[in-house]
Symmetry: C2
Subunit: 364 residues, 2 copies
């Protein structure tokens, strides 16, 4: 298998392997199951940047004492509708699923649940959490406020984050709609894809380290926000609504010149960046049944999806895709046929297992 | 004054005149004060599309029985954190300030307040409502789900709305930050500005009626979403989170071909469009003091603003502006020197007053 550029690995043995990695490291079985589920979900959906390739980062973060296998997650403030959760350096998937379950309980009771997480580690693909709500007949929303990677509108300096926002709602005949988007024009993973393929990137994606527009993915060092002042403003407001609300501003030290911007470099093998990579997050659940009839709701979502897909297409489009549809197709394909793991990622994953004395799946 | 292209009118006499128009029509004094405040606020901030030029529309909507001067606004469902409000054809500013006050009360009690308004009329500039929260040491969020004006990503047909979203947070030394953005690349008002100036529009703003890109503002008939699939997805999800949640889908009949798309034409003088112009809205308040120290919060917002403004500027920019800053400058200027009212708008406003037997301000 090593001579091919990718290994194709069945999702079930891969998930079992990932779970076992975290269990052997000392994580509780439930938390390891959660973390593996979040990572495999992203890999199944083709969001490889947020899938199993993250594992070496997570492992290194544990090794340097940054991410905790047995954190003391604490609800610091709570009302029937809201909560402020301190993550205590938990794995992102562990504290974020905890928070999502909490807001879903609150929503079931008072219609809406709203939680802040202070200082969570990397959360995987953030769309996972609103989907938890959608699977229980709720609408879910999540956003995160992270590292300085992006130039605000009018600047050539990476003073803001490309904070992602995700939303999901349930349908009846169709899959849930899932929007999961960064507030930058392109996600970092798209830059990596362009590098791998040796192609240029569009001029509106990124700036080089000096703040000049570049079409060379290797020179891209600073992201640009979607829609100029709009994406920029949205990212800034999410920082205000979240990081400053939990008294852990993410941009301030960089804006004041006390710390270098975070940038787009890989954190793996860079303990300083791993330690700095910590974020705040907002989780929201809305109980559909509190406001309207759930079945009627889901039928309307079906109608919406059918209607959108049947619209006249723009030139160059074979099909109109609704939020999440492309990823769900990849999910189906990989669920059946296995997840393609690039050679380097496969080697990294085997290496992690070897150190822990775990046998990798045969195809890895 | 008529020979000049604009009249400059002091905001106080203008507001008094606007209020008097609605009082004479039969609206209660408080509701007229609210409606006048919302309209004058937009005019002061330079958001003329959402200011006093709307009055002939509102008056016509009352005349044809679509907007009610004395509506029976009803809270249909309520919990300590949430509410579903039926607007009963109230003026948008009346029901939306009512909803915002309600969510602020709820936030004061349980940290967060979340309200849906079903079937509100035009709400004026939506940034007004989050600002109400910011003035009381809360964070505010509002969005609205309206008419089909925009082509979803992949389509050339106006099957979605350019739903606006607004957020505001308080600062200490600085003004509150206010983001108020449509999910289309350009607001409709920017097309009007381009027409007035006889200039071309950028290629990514709009399509003509046949769905082809156009740089001619007179041919622009369909808006394009910001960031392609992102703005498109965001607008679709807001419909799911709001219109479908209150069982009043806004897109469905158009998507099913049962109704023509709404489009970008002026509603004034078009009773059919006036009757169709009705929307749903979400209002959210977050009580800062429930989660962190309010003074500390506002100091961090100040630091954020100072930091952003001091970043290295991109080429072509004299200054980095934070969300709402440009509009606040116009506000200061117009607050001191008066609001410029285009000749046609001035004539329309005088005409409305004449019919009601009210004397317009001398400068109008």
């Amino acid at each position: 298998m090593n001579r091919k550029s990718v290994s194709i690995v069945g999702w079930e043995p891969l998930k079992q392997y990932v779970k076992e990695i975290f269990v052997r490291m000392g994580m509780g079985s439930d938390d390891a199951e959660t973390t593996a589920s979040v990572l495999i979900w992203a890999s199944l959906r083709g969001v490889d940047s947020h899938g199993v390739q993250l594992i070496p980062w997570y492992v290194e973060a544990v090794d340097i004492g940054h991410m905790k296998l047995k954190p003391n997650i604490a609800i610091e403030k709570e009302t029937p509708a809201s909560a402020l959760i301190d993550a205590d350096h938990a794995f992102g998937p562990v504290v974020t699923t905890f928070a999502m379950r909490l807001v879903m309980e609150k929503a079931r009771s008072v219609g809406i649940g709203w939680a802040y997480i202070r200082k969570t580690n990397h959360q995987g693909a953030i769309g996972y959490y609103p989907l938890m709500a959608a699977k229980k007949d709720m609408a879910g929303i999540a956003w995160s406020c992270g590292q300085t990677t992006t130039a605000p509108y009018g600047s050539k300096f990476p003073g803001i984050a490309n904070n992602p926002i995700a939303m999901a709602v349930p349908a009846n005949r169709h899959r849930p709609l899932i929007l999961d988007m960064a507030t930058s024009v392109a996600a970092v993973s798209k830059l990596h894809v362009a590098k791998d393929r040796g192609v240029k990137i569009p001029e509106d994606w990124a700036l080089d380290k000096d703040g000049n527009s570049t079409t060379d993915p290797w020179k891209a060092a600073i992201l640009k926000p979607i829609g100029g002042p709009k994406g920029s403003g949205l990212s800034i407001m999410l920082e205000c609504l979240t990081s400053i609300m939990v008294d852990f501003p993410k941009l301030e030290t960089v804006l004041q010149g006390k710390e270098k911007p975070f940038g787009l470099e890989s954190v793996i093998g860079n303990p300083e960046l791993i330690r700095r990579h910590i974020q705040n997050s907002t989780l929201i659940a809305i109980d559909i049944g509190n406001f309207t009839d759930v079945n009627r709701y889901k039928e309307h979502i079906d109608q919406l999806i059918d209607g959108l897909k049947s619209l006249p297409r723009a030139g160059g489009f074979d099909e109109i895709l609704v939020p999440g549809e492309l990823e769900e197709r990849t999910f189906d394909d990989r669920f059946r046929s296995g997840i393609p793991i690039p050679k380097k990622t496969a080697s990294n994953l085997r290496c992690v297992g070897e150190k822990l004395g775990i046998h990798p799946p045969g195809d890895l």
